[in-house]
């Protein structure tokens, strides 16, 4: 068994052509009055892991739908491996693989059958289908489940089988739509490891997620989307570095009006911003500080005391992609 059998078929592919290119893409569904995707543009380099990060309903799945030929664009241009997906959907389907948000395994077939017939649809020579299927089942830790019906697989196993299926025809670009939603932490980790492996073997990966940790961990670059528009695009560290402030101080408060405390803290030297992250159960402020968090801590706590509030918990940290999202939209990701 060799890894080479599942390498992308880049033979003849022009390295200069982006793996995925989206230009001014607009999608408006039938009766809707707003655009689900509203003038999106980005390009994904070959071999890159590209993440589309945004809350539910941001237009991520629609964008992937257009790129994978299942959703018809309203205007703009979308290409995969240089192929215009609207003009040549059949050609595009040959070079892309899809891991959909909802499991859609063929329950009339067993696990191996799902892979073998997928290979048949894609014209993989009959003699190679079974060996290839078993190789991928093994890579996904599913070899002992080869004859199991998809109904009897756990969520994580089904997801791995879907990834294996998406790889059976050695696609140049693999699209993963919310790949770890609904999985337990262990299954999630396994899926993450497979994505890292794929990228290492040269497959371009486009994934959507509303999970900032997943995006930060897996993606070389992240596009932040909201209301169908691209708000920012950079590496995870680049996005975070673009935020004002280099450290965060989380304060859990009691005993005073949060807005009043927020106002006081803003006036402290070295504080770059304060966000109210309170929920129903507790009052939480996140303070972003220039320089080290430790230096700003004492004056910040002093300001809280001046406002007549008590701090019940303090946590120091570094800003995350979620801070970037809040900075861009004023809202949390979920």
């Amino acid at each position: 068994m060799t890894q080479t059998t599942t390498l992308p078929s880049t033979a003849g592919a022009d390295e200069a052509v982006p793996a995925v290119e989206v230009t001014d893409l607009v999608k408006r569904y039938g009766r809707s009055t707003t655009n689900a995707v509203d003038g999106l543009s980005f390009a994904v380099r070959r071999g890159e892991v590209f993440g589309l990060l945004g809350p539910n309903g941001a237009g991520k799945t629609t964008t992937v739908g257009v790129l994978t030929t299942r959703v018809r664009k309203t205007s703009g241009l979308a290409t995969v491996a240089g192929i215009d997906v609207a003009a040549d959907p059949v050609g595009a389907r040959a070079v892309l693989g899809v891991v959909p948000q909802r499991p859609n395994l063929d329950r009339s077939l067993d696990a191996r059958g799902n892979l073998i017939w997928h290979a048949a649809y894609h014209g993989v020579p009959r003699a190679r289908r079974r060996a290839l299927a078993d190789e991928l089942l093994e890579r996904m830790g599913l070899l002992e489940k080869a004859t199991t019906n998809p109904d009897e697989l756990s969520g994580g196993q089904a997801q791995r089988l879907i990834i294996a299926r998406g790889l059976m025809h050695a696609p140049q670009v693999l699209f993963l739509d919310e790949p770890s939603t609904g999985l337990d932490p262990q299954a999630r980790l396994f899926v993450h490891d497979r994505v890292v492996e794929l990228a290492a073997s040269g497959v371009t990966v486009v994934l959507t997620t509303h999970d900032m940790d997943e995006a930060a961990k897996l993606a070389d670059r992240v596009g932040i989307v909201d209301h169908g528009k691209l708000l920012a695009l950079d590496s995870p560290s680049g996005l975070v570095a673009g935020l004002p402030g280099e450290a965060t101080i989380d304060l859990v408060l009691s005993g005073a009006d949060v807005a009043a405390v927020q106002g006081r803290i803003k006036e402290v030297r070295g504080v770059a911003g304060v966000e109210d992250r309170s929920d129903d159960t507790s009052s939480l402020l996140r303070v972003r500080a220039d320089g080290e968090a430790g230096a700003a801590l004492a004056p910040v706590l002093g300001a809280v005391a001046d406002a007549g509030a008590t701090v019940s918990q303090v946590e120091l940290g570094e800003p995350t992609l979620e801070d970037v999202f809040i900075d861009l939209t004023g809202r949390g990701l979920r």
Binding site: R70, P89, V90, R93, A94, S108, W117, H118, A120, Y121
Partner: protein, 264 residues
Amino acid sequence: MSAPTTAGPGQARAFLGVLGRDIAVTGKEFGSFISQVLMQPFFLLFVFGVVLGQLGYVTPGYAQLLLPGLLALNAFFVAVQATAIPLVIDFSYTKEIEDRLLAPLSTRLVAVEKIVFGASRGLFGSLVMIPVGYIVLDEVNWVLSGLPFAALLLVLGSLSGGAAGLVLGTLVSPRKINVVFALVVTPLLFTGSTQFPFLQLENLRWFQVICALNPITYVSEGLRGALTPAVPHLAGWVCLLALVASCLIFGAIGIQGFLRRALD
């Protein structure tokens, strides 16, 4: 629209792959498939052809008239069911068809595959009625020279059924499938000139008009013309034309419906 711009051997291979999957799945469920296909026509044949005959309520020649009708009925109905029911479930709940919609095959051809597969099940369901007829009935007097034309009619009838199934499968929501099957299927069952010769309905003109709208009529009548020409029947060319028209009309509507369901 999914204009097939990369036609050629790739799409033919993908088409055969998708068709192969459907046939393989049918093969795995062969026992249940064959019992579904045979049960209803077997009892129709047995009760109307044998029981009522022996009791003297129908004339001995009636079974001769009924058997071609049942072949026609199965060709169309098995095809309708084989196409419609899985599609309703696939598009609404399981989404299992998505992997085939993502095959390097134009979406139209996936729809055509559904018709062809449904038709092949219909054709099979119709052909197995022949030995059943020979076993259940005392005698079957067919003009064997009519067999090639009969085969052509059965193929067209099956294709027409597959296309009608595509229309139903893409238009009907799963919550309504039971109602639709009761409201559409039952009338189709009894207006297909399966159990009576179409031309002898002249005193029931309104019913004859309704029967004329049912594609099964043209399969039944055509088969009688080919196999049992002694029974009054419609001219062969009329049947042929009506079935081709039915394939084209249902096919066009069904493929449009399929595209609408397959692509957002």
